[in-house]
Subunit: 211 residues, 2 copies
């Protein structure tokens, strides 16, 4: 009988996000390139941020509920997008409902197209100011990847997958997630795009880089 | 008659902080070294975060009011202090009242000792888990700098200086400050220790550094 003393699996990061979340936009656009640099595997964990906020007593995004913070956030987003060389247009509706694309992301979380799909949906919301919770929008992004949009959407709408997304959202709450994006490396939680680099360094076993 | 087309003054950053604020601790400890690297002048802007929170409808710190976020914050602080090589002990009382040291900081904002004084107070709170709102604590820090503690405290308790701190807090609200630390470079607001580097780059006229 042997006991596993060391975790020999390759380093991984759990990436919890919602397509309606503006700071999730920054991380969705950056994470594949950054994780590859650190040789860290990404486990995509789409979830519904709305029910998490509601369970915490917030009717909607704190950026909507808190006027001062809300005004700041859009200045900050414009600057952060400049910093990361990402396209940016302030969404005219916020936070956008994202149930269908999240169901597709749930279905495709382990597929090779997940990263490109997520970036495509995020671009619609935060670079093109378009609605994302429609079969048309989701199909457009899937087809850009050369994927069979109709059958993927049908699978995403199956009861088992709908249930999987609800359970995923419950799991987020149980893990203490209170916003998005949130990263986990083992049991260590990192909140916000500002912690993506720290989380990846942690996953890769490197010291966090300060100055 | 000439018109000033360019602002020829040296670059400056306004640094709004409260000694009770844990993320202000990180910035207080880091800002002088970082600003010197960028040749940016610091304008120290102590203020009372409590009344700002209350005006926004929060009885106390969101880290106390929101259990999930509160639990996370202490994990994050330990990691951030490791990252910046700062001493850290989780304060057994939070947020600590800091009226007297803030009055002294108000009085001394333009003095050469302001940085060392602020770091000394912050160390008591976040490295030594000690109360900071007493003449003894404040004297100890002032005397460590070889300063005449008694006369500085007497001046800090003069009506004009008490009023100055109240007006300063009103000014924070008027500028849209909703948390601490907050930095301003001209009219541009940057919130949180995570934005200190961006704010300094902005003040120095450099592009923000992303990856």
């Amino acid at each position: 009988m042997t006991t596993a003393l060391f975790d020999t699996s390759s380093p991984a990061i759990d990436f919890w996000f919602d397509f309606g979340s503006n700071y999730s936009y920054l991380s969705v656009m950056r994470i594949e390139a950054q994780a590859a640099r650190h040789h860290v595997k990404i486990r995509w964990q789409p979830f519904l941020l709305g029910p998490v906020f509601q369970a915490l007593g917030f009717e909607t995004s704190p950026f909507v509920l808190q006027k001062e913070k809300g005004e700041y956030v859009w200045q900050d987003m414009a600057r952060q997008c400049g910093k990361y060389a990402l396209p940016w247009r302030r969404p005219s509706a916020f936070p956008r409902r994202a149930l269908l694309p999240l169901r597709v992301a749930m279905l495709g979380a382990d597929e090779p197209w997940i990263g490109a799909f997520c970036r495509g949906i995020m671009r619609l919301n935060f670079a093109q100011d378009r609605e994302i919770d429609s079969p048309e929008a989701v199909s457009e992004v899937l087809m850009q990847q050369g994927l069979p949009a109709q059958s993927i959407i049908a699978d995403a709408l199956a009861d088992a997958n709908k249930l999987a997304l609800r359970e995923q959202t419950e799991r987020a709450r149980a893990k203490g997630v209170f916003g998005a994006p949130t990263f986990f490396v083992g049991a260590e939680m990192f909140w916000g795009n500002d912690r993506l680099d720290d989380a990846l360094a942690c996953a890769a076993g490197l010291p966090l880089a300060g100055n």
